[in-house]
């Protein structure tokens, strides 16, 4: 039973991770609290649904399309809106991103209506039963896919020139500029990559989750706690925090009254904050 709970939690958590890694990257590089992140996820899910509806592509095969679309979408949003929003103060930035999210939700709602949608493919309904552990194939794929995507991102950040420039911008903007990094380009890139992450997460979720205009809010709250828990701006931290939250939610929700599982995440956050997250994550 415990193993089943752990695996379920881990798979859910890895999707939280992927969403949070994107959010954390945007926050780290641009110092921007993006309240539209959940709605970007929602957009990706509708995009994936659209590919299924119009092109007949399963969410898995449309995954690259959605990721690339979201990458471009991120860059466009940065160029058109966030670049200007960044020039204002923190509160105005938050409200600005929130407004973008609301606008997106409004547009999607007017196109698709207020209806719960799902994509039903042979994959989305398949289950895998391994030694009394029951998993849905879609969830398994989402979990593994999220881990692979995060791993690739980490490698890119660590071992490529562009990646190192991104990390440098995240750590110290002035120093990065002095070293010849074009921070404006890095901002744009972080938005692109951040949105691509959420695009992947959205496409992976579409296989087994319902699609609804306000579906993003379910995930964005958790994403923010994940980013905070992982130490703001830390990719590795966000990744581990996502997994931890997934496990706490499922395992804790089982052994304790389920209605408090969102509260448990809050408790986890408080405990880790008091115990200094940076040190904890560096120790891992």
């Amino acid at each position: 039973m415990l193993l089943q709970l752990l695996i379920s939690g881990l798979l859910m958590g890895s999707v939280f991770s992927l969403i949070a890694v994107g959010l954390s990257l945007i926050y780290g590089v641009m110092n921007l609290v993006n309240f539209a992140h959940g709605d970007f996820l929602m957009l990706a899910m509708y995009m994936s649904y659209g590919c299924f509806l119009i092109l007949g592509l399963s969410p898995l095969s449309s995954l690259p399309i959605v990721a690339i679309f979201m990458f471009i979408f991120g860059i466009l949003v940065y160029k058109g809106l966030f670049k200007r929003i960044l020039k204002t103060d923190m509160v105005a930035q938050m409200i600005g991103t929130y407004a973008v999210g609301q606008l997106l939700r409004g547009i999607i709602q007017s196109v698709f209506g207020i209806e719960y949608l799902t994509v039903n493919t042979s994959l989305s309904t398949a289950t895998a039963n391994i030694d009394r552990i029951n998993l849905s194939v879609a969830q398994l794929l989402a979990g593994i896919g999220a881990i692979i995507a995060t791993a690739i991102l980490m490698i890119v950040l660590k071992y490529t020139k562009v990646g190192r420039a991104l990390v440098a911008t995240s750590q110290n903007k002035v120093a990065a500029t002095v070293m010849g990094v074009d921070t404006n380009k890095m901002f744009m890139l972080s938005m692109g990559i951040g949105c691509a992450c959420v695009g992947l997460a959205g496409a992976l979720l579409t296989n087994y989750y319902y699609i609804f205009p306000s579906v993003g809010t379910v995930f964005s709250l958790i994403a923010f706690v994940t980013v905070a828990l992982g130490g703001f701006g830390s990719m590795k931290g966000a990744f581990l925090a996502g997994l931890a939250i997934g496990i706490v939610q499922v395992v804790g929700g089982f052994y304790l009254p389920s209605e408090y599982k969102l509260g448990l995440i809050g408790l986890l956050y408080l405990i880790v904050t008091i115990a200094k997250p940076k040190k904890l994550i560096d120790a891992v």
Binding site: M1, Q4, L5, S8, G9, M12, I114, E115, Y116, L117, T118, N120, T125, T127, N129, N134, L135, S136, Q139, Y208, Y209, Y210, F212, V218, F219, I222, Q249, V250, V251, G252, G253, F254, P257, S258, E259, Y260, K261, L262
Partner: protein, 429 residues
């Protein structure tokens, strides 16, 4: 000095006006034989805000009832269909004045006072949210105006002993009772062997109250509630809740869930390859998007409702009403529409028998209401108010999703078809 003189004039004028108003009010209630051409009733509903889609379905039901009452429908076998207007009032037409509650109890007082004082409505109906009804019923009590609700289910509303409040639909206790009767019938007819049950309920007012009532009533039927699982419907996933049910392995599990959470939970039952007997306490299970979203995975699920379009009783009338409804609004009649359609007809029946718009006469007529089930499109066994002014004949239908449709399976005499039983495992579907 000048002002003082004027002031006196104004005061005396006001007093005069006041007396005149009183005089006309007296005369209108005394002279009930005077011809009335229009009877105004008020309807308070959540027409904007989060429950606005539900409010709209309720309003559409009421509007169609007004069409039936005011128009002439020779082929429909319902009270008032075959003649225009209310015969008891010389063919007077019924008019509903709508007021938006936004689902907010604090709005109830103002809009009720407006309906009573400005619109001079003869009676009021609505308001879907039990909390709003509770607030509005106090105002109805103060002004002495009949308030008849066909869509709010909190048992407390009729337990206060109000003089002016009536309810035509079943309350949550009667709904739970209906469910347990169905389960007992299943044990007899299908040897379903349902004894141990789990209750899984969202943790706001509705779910909490429903599960409390279900738990209390269970002992009357010798059911054993193994576990009550309250949950937060805003959570992203529900594997821990489903795992709890799975660990309990109850004979049946009753869900009080909203839409998104019920959809997600059914998906997760499947993921866990766990196929218990699932009963929905309405809510998300009867939402128009439920079957559409879950597709094949919604098959075999069982839920309760007050209206379904396939019942054998009055099938012909129901089909005609369904068609009128669809032609007018472009969607199929749902439970809330049907309950409020019926509620409007029940209220009209009382006004018609009162032969007057005098509140006391209408109240008396409501008390004497006795409508047989052959005059109804909803599942009730008839309409008759008990001393708490609750329709004691209100009851529910149990429907099972079969071939992508809600199919009535209980009570046996209204059933369209047999219950698909036993519920197959996921791999055999």
């Amino acid at each position: 000095m000048y002002f003082k003189k004027n002031f006196k004039k104004v005061v005396s004028l006001l007093i005069g006006l006041f007396m005149l108003v009183n005089l006309t009010a007296c005369s209108s209630s005394k002279n009930s034989t005077e011809k009335i051409s229009e009877v105004k009733i008020g309807a308070i509903l959540p027409l904007t805000g989060p429950a606005s889609t539900t409010g709209k379905t309720a309003k559409d039901g009421m509007d169609l009832a007004v069409d039936i009452i005011n128009g002439k429908y020779d082929d429909i076998n319902l009270p008032f269909a075959k003649e225009e207007g209310l015969p008891g009032l010389g063919g007077a037409k019924l008019k509903i004045v709508y007021s938006d509650t936004q689902g907010a109890p604090e709005k109830a007082q103002t809009i009720m006072e407006k309906l009573v004082n400005d619109e001079k409505v003869a009676a009021v109906e609505g308001a879907y949210h039990s909390s709003v009804v509770a607030a509005a019923a106090i105002v109805a009590e103060r002004y002495g105006v009949p308030f008849v609700s066909g869509d709010a289910t909190s048992p407390a509303l009729t337990q206060k002993g109000y003089k002016w409040f009536f309810r035509t639909c079943p309350d949550d206790t009667m709904i739970a009772d209906g469910f347990y009767k169905f389960m007992a019938d299943m044990n007899t007819k299908y040897s379903a062997n349902i004894k141990n049950i789990d209750l899984i309920a969202e943790n706001t007012l509705w779910g909490t109250d429903s599960s409390k009532i279900e738990k209390t009533l269970a002992s009357n039927y010798n059911y054993n509630v193994k576990n009550v699982i309250p949950y937060d419907s805003k959570a992203s996933e529900f594997s821990s809740e489903i795992m709890k049910v799975k660990a309990d392995a109850p004979d049946a599990v009753i869900h009080s869930s909203y839409v998104a959470d019920s959809i997600m939970m059914i998906k997760q039952y499947k993921q866990m390859d766990y196929a218990p007997v699932i009963f929905g306490n309405g809510g998300g299970f009867v939402d128009p998007s439920f079957i559409k979203t879950l597709g094949k995975d919604s098959e075999y699920l069982i839920t309760r409702t007050c209206y379904n379009n396939d019942v054998a009783l009055n099938a012909d009338t129901i089909a005609k009403i369904e068609k009128l409804f669809f032609d007018k609004y472009g969607y199929n009649m749902v439970e809330t529409s049907a309950r409020d359609f019926e509620n409007t007809l029940i209220l009209a029946d009382a006004i018609n028998r009162a032969k007057s718009v005098d509140p006391n006469a209408i109240r008396q007529a409501l008390v004497e209401t006795n409508i047989p089930k052959s005059d109804l499109i909803v599942s009730y066994e008839g309409v008759k108010f008990n001393d708490k002014q609750q329709n004691e004949l209100a009851s529910v239908l149990v429907v099972q999703i079969q071939n992508g449709k809600y199919t009535t399976v209980w009570p046996w005499d209204r059933a369209k078809t047999e219950v698909e039983w036993p519920i197959p495992t996921w791999s055999k579907r």
